[in-house]
Point group: C2
Chain length 267, copies 2
Amino acid sequence: MRASYLQFSPSYLEPDRNRARVAEMIQGVETDLLVLPELFTSGYFFQSQDDLAEVAEPVPEGPTTDALRHWADDLNATVVAGLPEQEADLVYNSAAVASPAGEVAVYRKVHLFYQENDLFATGDLGFPVLEVEADGTSYRLGVMVCFDWYFPEAARTLAVKGADVIAHPSNLVLPHCPDSMPVRARENHVFTITANRTGREQREDEILQFIGQSEICDPDGNILQRAGAEDKGVGTVEVDPAEARDRHINQYNDVLADRRPDMYTLA
Amino acid sequence: MRASYLQFSPSYLEPDRNRARVAEMIQGVETDLLVLPELFTSGYFFQSQDDLAEVAEPVPEGPTTDALRHWADDLNATVVAGLPEQEADLVYNSAAVASPAGEVAVYRKVHLFYQENDLFATGDLGFPVLEVEADGTSYRLGVMVCFDWYFPEAARTLAVKGADVIAHPSNLVLPHCPDSMPVRARENHVFTITANRTGREQREDEILQFIGQSEICDPDGNILQRAGAEDKGVGTVEVDPAEARDRHINQYNDVLADRRPDMYTLA
């Protein structure tokens, strides 16, 4: 199957424009799995809770879920994308997953970074692993968002729950993630697809520079493709999720079966 | 305080010679914590269970613990070193910790690599964190051995149990660890000291090439010192364990306090 990230620079508080730009960028793309950045509809560095409220929307009833469903149908691909999700009086930093069959799942970011803690409610749904049909076979897709990468428990939880492929919508500003995702891929023996954004946003005198470098890793921790820091576009690689299914790294060691929970203190 | 690794190439099945070489290499070394490689007394690639039995010894009653105590006293430093530990009819791939005060602790490797599974019993004592006095202050020292690095639960368990510094005796042959230890250090906000060996060993037609590159990382994931692939000697850096004590990486995020065990599936 083919797996893709889309890297671009969302415009702050312009969801219509951002959806239109993505719609244009994916024309003619041939893929089975497309991952968009975190908060791709809204931009990231909210000036206020009011700004966030203006662009938050319900899932699956909102316009972005409609667009994702439409793109999933058009591309015959599963689409994973980050957006601010309104539920009652809370806003989550969420990722929605739309399948070609019209199904929608949602993940709410569990580990909030920095000032996100002032704006968003922390995720309450756990880490989802979905059975997905693609290219005549099926695989298991896990989802985490941006800063979740920092906590090994996030990708580990997805692997333990059976993920072969991890979709990772991101708005990275720290420099460490691109060189760390190969470790996450290797330690869990999974594919990872990090879709990051580019550009910069400012609030008062604080500037956030997003680092691009969207990346696809294989279960051995090889970087199959990495975008440049400023590139805009879709990157696609052919991957075989079956490679992730057997977690052996040699005839003796299986990275999940060798775990020794009785020896760990993780509570 | 000063933290050190010792990197050398142990001679196979020659514990007297290996202890003598270490005794020579540490003359004049000024440090508070010295980490030696995994199985530094014995070599690594055992031709048979009989070969292993020949060099396994009890801890703390054996000659290597005597030597470690002696070195700890001489250097006024805590010494961590790997050796094959005999207990009843089992042999563990262990690390002994000797303090200047004469105390000895032991860790038995939990995650056995490759053909170690044919030779050693798997560790049954969990991951130790010891309160250590050094240079007028005290810090908490955790221990893991070589392949334990591959499993994020090992270093995480040590951090959750309060480790400021992780001693990591190793006999690395895979290429990934030196570039992964900064991730372990960063995700747990701890210092790490990996002491690896050099040289090669052969069994039948299989050759293991040890990769050297002993390494000390700080809690931000910076590599403070890395040895070359073939270097022999002691590497020392000044570290402040207090830097690891506060796990905040910004005013909002604490890498341990932000964990969400209720959202994880790790059993």
